[in-house]
């Protein structure tokens, strides 16, 4: 199963966010559109902070959305690649990690608070139930491929844990690496 999913997402969770509220994010994301802070054709900001444990605040773009994501009760930055994914899974994953990293670092720089992301851990989700159903056999195969792809990024195999075994939920893994993503990838080029 080397097929690239139709959509692929990487989420970095916060290690520290003393006071940060979703309401702080809206102006930041709107500024990112004005200043083209993160890569992509940025379209709009949508605010779902009224919904508990939901997508929070989303910066919608053509190729990939950036989310201040609260799903699962874990606040974090989620990069959701929707289009123009490379045909190779490793490359697609690398692209998503770079997108999440760029946005997380930009947010650390701009948030009105001393926030910090945990760059040793990621959540990878496959938004494609046709090619990546969340079923035991398919999940095991996907996990093996993901481990290999992440090893290329982090230099060592991360620990992987499937997030849900309920087939209705997206296939997703929590990945904990011995090394920080920030140290493992070249500094992302931020659009300016």
């Amino acid at each position: 199963m080397t097929t690239v999913p139709k959509r692929l997402a990487v989420k970095l969770s916060l290690a520290r966010a003393p006071q940060l509220q979703p309401a702080h994010i809206v102006p930041i994301f709107q500024r990112w559109i004005q200043q083209r802070t993160v890569p992509g054709m940025l379209i709009d900001v949508i605010d779902y902070k009224h919904v508990p444990n939901g997508p929070g605040v989303l910066l919608i773009a053509d190729e990939a959305d950036y989310g201040w994501d609260l799903v699962g009760g874990r606040a974090g930055l989620r990069y959701i690649r929707k289009r123009a994914l490379p045909e190779d899974l490793s490359a697609a994953l690398r692209l998503c990690c770079a997108g999440a990293l760029a946005a997380a670092q930009a947010l650390e720089a701009e948030a009105p608070d001393d926030i910090a992301f945990d760059y040793h851990a990621l959540e990878v989700s496959y938004l494609d139930r046709l090619r990546y159903p969340n079923e035991a056999q398919a999940a095991a195969a996907a996990q093996a491929l993901l481990a290999t792809a992440l090893q290329e990024i982090f230099g060592a195999k991360p620990r992987l844990q499937r997030l849900h075994d309920d087939p209705r939920y997206l296939l997703a893994f929590r990945c904990v690496a011995g090394r920080s993503l920030a140290d493992s990838m070249p500094a992302p080029a931020l659009a300016g």
């Binding site: 139709k6 809206v26 559109i33 004005q34 709009d44 444990n53 939901g54 919608i60 938004l127 209705r168």
Partner: protein, 748 residues
């Protein structure tokens, strides 16, 4: 498995497969430029695939207009609607009825193709936002596999048929209307006789006259359940209403037939559809709803035409076949009905019970309302809710026209446990149906027509009201607030105690988002009467204006006096005086916050006007002149209150003339005050040149003036006065917008 098409081929009814395959083929043709864009747009809309804000490739970011260069370039999916631009998918949920499996599928689609949110509409539909058109055929197949269609969810077609969410369990209903709503849905779906309408056609069923759940008076076709005694037997039937509607100018429906037996219901509907298709306006979409045809012909002539049509209608076994299947739609409870049995209650249970629980007609059972703020819930909540539904009620889930979800047939003994389970997933909040449970349309968040942020305002009002909910007197707790992002009324602001609809005004060289305050609408009695605008308040001043209004209501209301009666007693003049302090416009320098909308940090703009030439003196002249039009409009409102319909008409017409004159004088100071001259100058300078055209409604509002100028009213009654006052308000708003466009606005 290569595709959803392949995987689901045995699970989708053949008819649905054909419709979706045809649509997919049309998509290919359009991409190759082999299908006309307008034809494709209608085909797409009839599949519920809608445009969204910024799909024309322009977005104002608060500093400048940015071009959005989508990868597919100039290929469009409709006029000014770029192929790659994210769009909205509307999904019909007939009378809001959902099974647990269907809810799961909708949730899967939300987090796979959209932004993870399911939005409940005021027509009991579900909408997904930010969907790419290329994903829509698979999305439709996955829905079709669980018995859901998007067919005719938008476009000039029969929209989702709505019905009371309490149908079948209500104390006050004549009988359960669900089987009839279901039968009509099946019968009309893709029916030949509903393919040639000039506009959409909305149908609603209600089980009783008194409550609001069905809202039959504001529908093209409203069916009100009735029973009558005949030959010693109780017969079921419907009072049939036609020609109601909200939209820019609301119309109350008229009675077409007092009592129609179930076996005659579908033939009658088919005859109405045929008359509408044949005689309804096709060219001017602003006058193409059934309400205009009924108003033009008069209800008696319309009735005659329908009766003649019925005579020639071919026999169709489907007209009555469903009556034999009546029992199939009777909802079986998942569990035995047991009363609350003294089990420990969660904290806050009493509050939740008071606002969110309705005791069913069937002893031992209740309906529980799940309040979904702004009509939104997440895919994860959807999965968890499906589990909760299976545990307590099976497939007895419905969406409501107030953008909530109800679980029906909950055994009373399960209420404490259900309350706990709902709280765990964030759907156990109290205060459903109270003042905090505000209805809102998408507004500027995603709607192409939005002028102000209805969702932003709603979120703000909701947050403020929730903080104080326990301090609010019952009279205020029970008020209904409804918000629309523009005059189109998707948020149903006309039928709220307090409604708001978005518009904009200018202060100096900047625009400010505003909301018209609409008071005195009636939600009960099936949307029994419509409110009228009393004045526009800057968006940022709305919370304070609302507080002033409700505080005064509480302080001054007579015992048992409801809000509509209080509004009427106080009179518009006094209300306007009360709101006046909130209508004052600061300059940008005095309070820049007023120049951003709620939930938006950008300096407000509704289109991509950019920097225009500022003509300071002309602006101030215009402001003075347009304010005369506004006060004259207000006099029309007062005349309406007094029942002086002749004066209401005269004042409304005069207000339109003054507004037109205000605009004319920005270009031609010496126009004078002769009405013919004002109208001619206005027509030549602003209408023929299309300068006054609204981006979507085009010249519709200007034609209100032309119509009144050339035709004195043939009748002077309350309906007419209400209508011309509404039209005048829209005309004045249109003049404001045109002036901003023409004379330029500095937006940053």
């Amino acid at each position: 498995m290569t595709s959803w098409k392949e995987r689901l081929k045995d699970e989708i009814p053949l008819e649905m497969t054909k419709l979706i395959d045809t649509y997919e083929a049309q998509m290919s043709l359009r991409r190759q430029g082999k299908m006309d864009e307008k034809v494709f747009a209608e085909a797409r809309l009839r599949k519920g695939v809608y445009g969204q804000r910024y799909d024309n490739g322009q977005r104002h970011d608060g500093i400048r207009a940015q071009a959005l260069a989508y990868p597919s370039g100039d290929i469009v999916k409709g006029t000014d609607t770029l192929w790659d631009a994210p769009g909205m998918q509307r999904i019909k949920i007939p009378y809001g009825g959902l099974s647990a499996r269907q809810l799961e599928t909708l949730s899967e689609l939300a987090d796979e193709y959209a932004d993870g949110i399911l939005h409940i509409t005021t027509r009991q539909d579900i909408q997904l936002h930010y969907v790419h058109i290329d994903d829509t055929p698979d999305l439709m197949r996955r829905l079709a596999a669980v018995g859901i269609t998007t067919q005719e969810a938008c476009g000039n077609s029969v929209r989702n048929i709505t019905a009371c969410s309490l149908a079948g369990v209500c104390h006050d209903e004549a009988f359960d209307v669900s089987p009839y709503a279901d039968a009509m849905t099946q019968f009309l779906l893709a029916h030949d006789d509903v393919q040639d309408f000039g506009r959409k056609f909305k149908v609603a069923f209600s089980g009783c006259a008194g409550h609001a759940c069905g809202l039959v008076h504001m529908h093209d076709l409203g069916l009100l359940a009735q029973t009558r005694e005949a030959a010693g037997e109780l017969q079921k039937g419907f009072t049939v209403f036609v020609g109601g509607g909200l939209g820019t100018v609301p119309h109350q429906a008229k009675i077409l037939a007092e009592f129609v037996a179930p076996e005659d219901l579908l033939p009658l509907t088919q005859a109405i559809a045929r008359v509408f298709a044949r005689l309804g306006e096709k060219k001017n979409r602003n006058r193409a709803r059934l309400k205009f045809l009924v108003a033009k012909l008069g209800i008696d002539e319309f009735r005659g035409l329908v009766e003649a049509e019925l005579e020639s209608l071919p026999q169709d076994p489907r007209h009555t076949a469903y009556l034999d299947d009546d029992a199939d739609l009777a909802y079986a409870p998942a569990k035995a009905g047991l009363r609350l049995n003294g089990a420990p209650l969660p904290t806050g249970f009493a509050d939740w019970y008071r606002s969110n629980v309705y005791r069913q007609a069937q002893p031992g059972y209740s309906v529980v309302t799940l309040h979904s703020p702004l009509g939104d819930f997440t895919a994860q909540q959807g999965f968890a809710l499906a589990d909760i539904a299976r545990k307590y009620v099976g497939d007895n889930i419905r969406l409501t026209v107030e953008q909530n979800i109800v679980l029906r047939w909950v055994a009373d003994a399960d209420l404490p446990a259900l309350c706990r389970d709902l709280r765990k997933i964030g759907l156990g909040g109290a205060h459903a149906g109270t003042i905090v449970d505000i209805t809102t349309c998408p507004g500027t968040d995603t709607c192409k027509l939005g002028i102000a942020s209805s969702r932003g305002l709603t979120a703000e009002l909701r947050a403020r009201l929730i903080e104080r909910i326990n301090l609010l007197p019952d009279a205020v707790r029970e008020l209904k607030i409804k918000v629309s992002g523009c005059f189109n009324s998707c948020g149903q602001h006309h039928v709220a105690d307090i409604g708001f609809f978005g518009n904009s005004r200018r202060s100096g060289n900047h625009k400010l988002p505003h909301f018209q305050v609409v008071l005195g609408g009636q939600w009960q009695q099936n949307a029994g009467s419509y409110g009228l605008a009393v004045g526009a308040v800057p968006a940022k001043a709305v919370p304070e204006a609302l507080a002033a209004l409700t505080e005064r209501y509480v302080a001054e209301r007579a015992k048992d006096e409801n809000f509509q009666r209080w509004v009427k007693r106080l009179g518009r003049k006094e209300i306007k005086t009360m709101l006046k302090p909130f209508m004052q416009l600061p300059t940008f320098e005095e309070n820049a916050d007023f120049f951003s909308d709620w939930g938006d940090s950008r300096v407000y703009t509704i289109d991509d006007i950019g920097v225009g030439e500022c003509a300071g003196e002309v602006v101030s002249l215009f402001s003075m002149e347009i304010s005369k039009a506004e006060s004259t409009h207000f006099e029309a409102l007062l005349a309406l209150d007094d029942g002086d319909y002749r004066r209401a008409d005269e004042r409304a017409y005069r207000a339109m003339l003054l507004a037109a004159r205000a605009l004319v004088r920005t270009k031609f100071l010496d126009v004078g005050d002769d009405s013919d001259r004002i109208v001619n100058e206005f027509r030549q300078r602003f209408y023929d040149t299309e300068l006054v055209y609204d981006r979507f409604a085009k010249g519709k509002f200007a034609r209100y003036l032309f119509k009144r100028h050339t035709q004195a009213p043939t009748r002077l009654d309350e309906d007419y006065a209400h209508q011309i006052i509404d039209e005048t308000q829209l005309f004045i708003d249109n003049i404001h917008s045109a002036e901003q466009r023409i004379n330029g606005v500095i937006v940053g």
